[in-house]
Symmetry: C2
Subunit: 335 residues, 2 copies
DNA sequence: CTTGGCACTCGGGAACACTGAGTGCCAGGC
DNA sequence: GCCTGGCACTCAGTGTTCCCGAGTGCCAAG
């Protein structure tokens, strides 16, 4: 129902509109992209594309603008992800390599991505639940207080202060620490609850109250952070587009829950795109999200992406997101 | 040179302009604030105030608007910090009390402040250099790798992976840990370098290379974080004012360095205000910063504040900032 | 020193016409 | 059957003009 030329016209409309930010007319289009046909013919094709809902005109005497459906077709069938230049890749690599800890990795990543795409970048911290325990530390603070520190294989550190039911000598704590680490080292966080339950059985009677208090805090830490932490950067880039509706976008960005849903679920393809009204939050129609998972090796630890106007350069943006996701994965795996 | 009535007029101009966002004219002013004089008299006073640079008119046939100098006089001499209502104070208290760790305290604080003032809130993490060591932990990861964890009295945790020059048995590490903690516990971070140097002298010859590697990373951690971490929230509130220049403001907010300078140095008075062109960054003329230090007890650990249009309700904003700063101080002291 | 009166200024909104990019449709040509 | 040039039509955006009214500065009188 859409022959090759009509698809070419759609592609041309998208590309021109993205680069000029103005409705594109048949004449300009026939000139700039050598389609080999006259404006009149292009007009006929456009009429069909409009009827099918791929493009629309803001008002009668204006050019055409892609609809969400048009962008979708463009992304799915008419474009290819554009890889970064060698220089850009080197820049990414050196910039990320300088990071000293997880916080730093995430901060650098989000800034890098914002700068690279000239859009708002969003990065989720590596999920606690999908990582494994690297170490558990118990630090006596006073006679009845200890600090519990949990370190994951991604370098993430969580700490909590625990008030103990009664006084405990340091060596009993040391013992518990040893036991905990023996059992939990390398254990997937998702399997910590059962492992802990097991462990509890095997402790001497005396230690159980103390151990119970501590492990319950430990389990708390795991579920508590179900609200994964998300950071963003590059909001200044929003002012270029979005003269109106900016407020909604900024509000959405500060809602962790909304952000989570935006980044979406893990997916098989490397980069996922949500266009305009496809995304769940009504304040964000008019924006698209390009996201990808990242992680060390094959398991996806978390996601990152950028948010921009539906009128964005998808091939380039997708290339940048994919590249950054890969490099972050490498960095995390290597540290 | 400015009699009482002229000051009253200035106050009235500021208050009216803040609440209506429109240049205020002599007539409206004489009516709304019962000054007991006629519009004509008010006009004369306004002429004087304008000559002195406290107010200005956007164009000839418009009312008057306060200048930065006018706001300054208002803040210094014509207004009083407005305390929060009891309900608001309770809300703050309960909201902050729910925090589980330092990250959480800071995140909650910045959101709370943004919501309370309907402005952009900025919060600096408790300074490393002004806190004291609560605990140093060395966690063996493999034969030649350990993780160094530094915990401060404010609950801040820093961790680094250290590659050792040669293989080291666990008990030597345990010993070093004990020594480190014995020396450093409670030590002000600013005094850590000298303390560490001392300590190095007293170690057995064999341990020095290892200890040297570890302590040098420890010292790194201290200076490295000279770029204090700062977070902000509430950017959506910017869209209400700032139809233009928003980009500059957003850019400034993402520059840690600029933010640092904005919050300013510790000061004796409880709340400091920077108005428009008084602040160092040119993109932020048109904005004011209301800031205060916070900390446990009398030593200021860090600063927090809000950023908004120069046209803001200073008494209320100052009240909110002061209150939040106090509560955060309490929370940190208590944990 | 205050006040009412008065002429003056000027931004902003309403009414209006004009321009030009772009469209839809149609008849003729390949 | 599809492409093309021609043509009338539409309408957003721009520029012009005009008018209104809020607000001012100044002055003379109380």
């Amino acid at each position: 129902m859409l022959d090759d030329r009509k698809l070419a016209v759609l592609r041309a409309v998208v590309e021109d509109y993205v680069s000029t930010n103005e409705p594109v007319g048949s004449k300009a289009l026939a000139e700039r992209h050598n389609l080999g046909v006259s404006p009149a013919t292009v007009r006929n094709d456009m009429a069909v594309l409009e009827e099918q809902g791929y493009i629309a005109q803001p008002h009668t005497s204006a050019g055409r603008v892609p609809t969400d459906k048009g962008y979708r077709l463009f992304v799915d069938r008419l474009s290819q992800i554009k890889p970064l230049s060698a220089a850009e890749r080197r820049a990414i690599e050196t910039f990320l390599a300088g990071a000293v800890d997880l916080d730093d990795v995430v901060t650098r990543t989000v800034r890098l991505l914002a700068q690279l795409t000239r859009q708002v970048a969003v990065v989720q911290y590596p999920s606690l639940t999908r990582s494994t325990v690297r170490h558990v530390e118990l630090v006596p603070l006073s006679e009845r207080r200890i600090m519990l520190v949990l370190i994951t294989n991604t370098g993430r550190v969580e700490q909590r202060v625990v008030d103990l039911p009664d006084m405990v000598e340091d060596d009993r704590i040391a013992h518990l620490r040893a036991v905990l680490n023996a059992c939990l080292d390398g254990c997937a966080l998702s399997r910590v609850p059962e492992t802990v339950a097991d462990l509890h059985e095997r402790l001497p009677e005396d230690d159980r109250p103390m151990a119970g208090t501590i492990t319950s805090v430990l389990l708390d830490t795991l579920v508590d952070r179900h609200d994964e932490k998300i950071v963003f950067a590059g909001t200044a880039n929003l002012t270029a587009d979005f003269t109106v509706g900016l407020r909604d976008v900024l509000e959405a960005l500060e809602e962790q829950v909304v952000l989570m849903r935006l980044l979406g679920e893990a997916s098989d393809s490397s980069v996922t795109v949500r266009i305009g009204s496809e995304n769940p939050y009504s304040g964000l129609h008019g924006t698209s999200i390009v996201a990808a998972g990242y992680g060390s090796g094959d398991n996806e630890l978390a996601r990152l992406g950028v948010l921009g106007p539906t009128r964005m350069d998808y091939p380039v943006t997708m290339g940048a997101v994919r590249a950054v996701a890969r490099y972050v994965g490498q960095i995390l795996a290597g540290s």
